[in-house]
Symmetry: C5
Subunit: 88 residues, 5 copies
């Protein structure tokens, strides 16, 4: 998983049925010094994350299993809100 | 998922049965400032996307589940058309 | 999927049973201007591709499903021969 | 798998049920000369790893199978503690 | 799959049960000119590969299926020994 910050959201009317009713958030991966890393990703929220929060993002097939169905087309999901991290 | 813009299409007569009848679109990943990121990808359309549209692309195993069969060889699929995005 | 050009082949006598009888081709990813991108990949052919041809390559778990068995160790497969592409 | 060193940990109160009771460690990939490579990753510990230890990390779907359930949302797991490595 | 050269090995006493009795080899990806590419990877051997040999490595979920169980935590496996390759 990686740690990112929620920086925005996406509106899509025409989309896969699997995405209906789900919040599509835009996440920026960051390092512990809060520097941006890589490019933005659209992740589906599963924990009630909001803009500006630090979140834990899972990618690939594991992201499929975050929601009720195991045949989801979702390849990135927010699975935690980071309260604190300690790195040395 | 990432946000990209549809920039073209591919014609392939000899191909996997799974691809028959499906639209193979070429997608360029972009950032919110509309700058191109990385290399082009060929994604299978599932939402009626057309050239010039901003789309949501899923990759890897989750892309397999976009279509009727769960044993697809598809590793990238367009699963949404982006109406708007808000990033700060 | 990505578009590549078949640039060579690999001979391996000692190998997984899953690979026996299959053609192991070396593919170079290219962009529409025919410039090479990234490093070479060994992909298993499923459509009768030959050297010099432009092909469509799928990667990861979806590549497992290209062949008869769903428990294959194959992580890259050629699933189409590109007749033409149109990019703008 | 890659070899990394455990450099920290993450606290997340609001998170997927799958993560409850699991140790979320921050891992830095390193090369045999102990130089840092790439960005940090959050991996779930399965072997009792602690800070400063060299560990073996698996990624993607294989990480899902490290724990009791096969429908986990975990995409990175520590599956070994490196006693020694020999590279030439 | 990619082609690499076996450059070393890893000893890990404390590890996932899935890894017990398996040879953990360190592989360096190379190109046909024998130049090193990217970072080292730890791959589980399935074909009796030894140090200095050119091997074929599969990654991700397909690597899980190289061994007897389909619930393996292995994300990289050596599935062939390269006798020769021809690239132009």
């Amino acid at each position: 998983m990686y740690i990112g910050i929620v920086v925005g959201s996406v509106v899509a009317t025409r989309k896969s049925d699997e995405l209906v009713g789900k919040k599509l958030l835009i996440v920026q991966k960051v390092n512990p010094k809060d520097e941006s890393l890589g490019t933005l990703e659209v992740a589906v929220d599963s924990v009630g994350a909001g803009k500006g929060e630090y979140v834990l993002v899972t990618q690939g097939e594991p992201a499929m299993y975050v929601f009720e169905t195991s045949t989801s087309c979702i390849d990135a999901a927010i699975i935690g809100i980071v309260d604190s991290m300690e790195v040395s």
